[in-house]
Symmetry: C2
Subunit: 286 residues, 2 copies
């Protein structure tokens, strides 16, 4: 397992950790401010959100690389199915393609996909997952042409109804296998997989080359909100060392990307402090 205690060049920031410009939340820093602050501190990469980029994808990507950082990801494709997906299906496809094109322009290594919840009336995760697989398979060549991968992110089962019918690493690996396109990968996020004692086994089946990213945060024992109350690494109950062991045991050697949604805590702090704490915790507990 890699030793990060004296080297945090593998650390990446997901801008959500700073409140990512959600109305009235976070610092409201521009991408340029985030890039400079991360470069100053020796972060290795940044994952952005579409809302922050607008029509400046190429420029933001170049600016990031000029500062010595990589763009490790873009969040995210639209929900592909379920109650929160755009309607009709053609709108899903259009926005999916637009998000792939933006990621390509940005030079992002991957585009994250939260697939959306169970299709209304279907009462079936399996049927919903089939639809997801069709849409992802159709889009994979576009992603490959753009030089990125589509990172399927299994979400915590608590989101099964609305945000993701893909809720286990096992199901994500199954989908990657079924699609069988090199541009289809999996993102592993502590918040979503920390409870899964079968993680290591599933990631070995997947292989490190198909792990697009490893996302860090912690699960708070007394969490008050399953969307916006994620913990800083070390403040919760997740077994961070063992989870990274599982990810690296599969062969992953990429960035470890801090992604903390925390409307009542970290989003209220000075972003400079948040960035510093992330480094400190990365070195000591991850």
């Amino acid at each position: 397992m890699r030793d990060f205690s004296a080297d945090h060049s593998a650390l990446a920031l997901n801008t959500a950790t700073l409140g990512h410009n959600v109305d009235g939340q976070g610092a409201g820093w521009s991408p340029e401010q985030v890039i400079d602050a991360c470069a100053d501190r020796g972060y290795g990469a940044i994952a952005f959100w579409r809302r922050e980029i607008g029509s400046r994808a190429h420029k933001v990507g170049e600016r990031t690389r000029a500062a010595g950082l990589e763009v490790c990801g873009l969040c995210r494709a639209p929900f592909l199915v379920g109650p929160l997906a755009p309607k009709p299906r053609s709108a899903v496809v259009d926005d999916f393609h637009a998000s792939i094109d933006m990621a390509a322009e940005l030079g992002a290594a991957c585009l994250t996909i939260c697939v959306g919840g169970v299709v209304a009336g279907s009462h079936s995760m399996r049927e919903s997952l089939k639809l997801v697989a069709e849409l992802v398979a159709e889009a994979a060549p576009r992603a490959a042409a753009g030089g990125l991968t589509l990172a399927l992110e299994p979400l915590n089962p608590v989101y099964g109804g609305n945000r993701s019918c893909l809720v286990t690493t096992r199901d994500a690996v199954d989908m990657v296998e079924a699609i069988g396109h090199p541009a289809v990968t999996v993102a592993v996020d502590v918040y979503h997989v920390w409870w899964d004692l079968g993680l290591s086994e599933q990631l070995r089946r997947l292989g490190g080359h198909r792990i697009a990213g490893y996302h860090l945060c912690d699960w708070l024992a007394d969490t008050t909100d399953v969307l916006l109350d994620r913990g800083m690494m070390g403040d919760g109950v997740a077994d961070l060392k063992h989870i990274r062991e599982a990810v690296e045991g599969a062969g992953y050697r990429g960035y470890c990307e801090v992604e903390i949604f925390s409307s009542n805590n970290w989003w209220k702090c000075d972003p400079n402090e948040v960035l510093d704490v992330c480094i400190e915790r990365f070195k000591s507990v991850c």
Copy 2:
């Protein structure tokens, strides 16, 4: 698979569905009122909560059986580990034994166990589960002597931090196998397992004789609270027929017990109406 469309004698009521006398919640019906209302409607069994029973366990059990119903369960043992468990550990053991004794007096078929969350500071589900297994193994002979089983209930992973470090059917089956005592079983609850596409495989490994109960409700796509916003069967996204197929495929032929925590909806309704709707939905969508 059993056909319930014209026969609901396999239907059981968990009294939580009527608000189970939580302060200011539910109808406040006495156990006797619940028994009569269930008997009138042809329910097959009732699962009670300790708070409703007090020192009248034997009497309530006899009254239930005199009305032609069985006591399919008692909720529940104390949290055995984690932040919500009684302190010190001797208090856990004492209350665990007291709950087993009450279940025996009541003539309940099983005592439900929600094992409690990850042990503070351990950062390890595995270590926490080991402690649980020790406590359950120690108590198993007492349960056997009382004529009941200890029903390990894996809870939805959203509860991993505080209410249950046992979050998958797989882990529950592993624990039952490891303990290897006939009085240790598993309870399967739609709310906790609906998302698990590996359910059927795990339950076959367990075998129907070690399934202590099957709990019905539904997962609402737009759930507002992960504790008290369970849905009535048919109102959510769970694949109820397939889940029952998995349970019965393993050999289970016992009761299907409706357990709906719903502080803003069903607990505000007339309990008579709730009991009627449960029957209707049981026949039509379960």
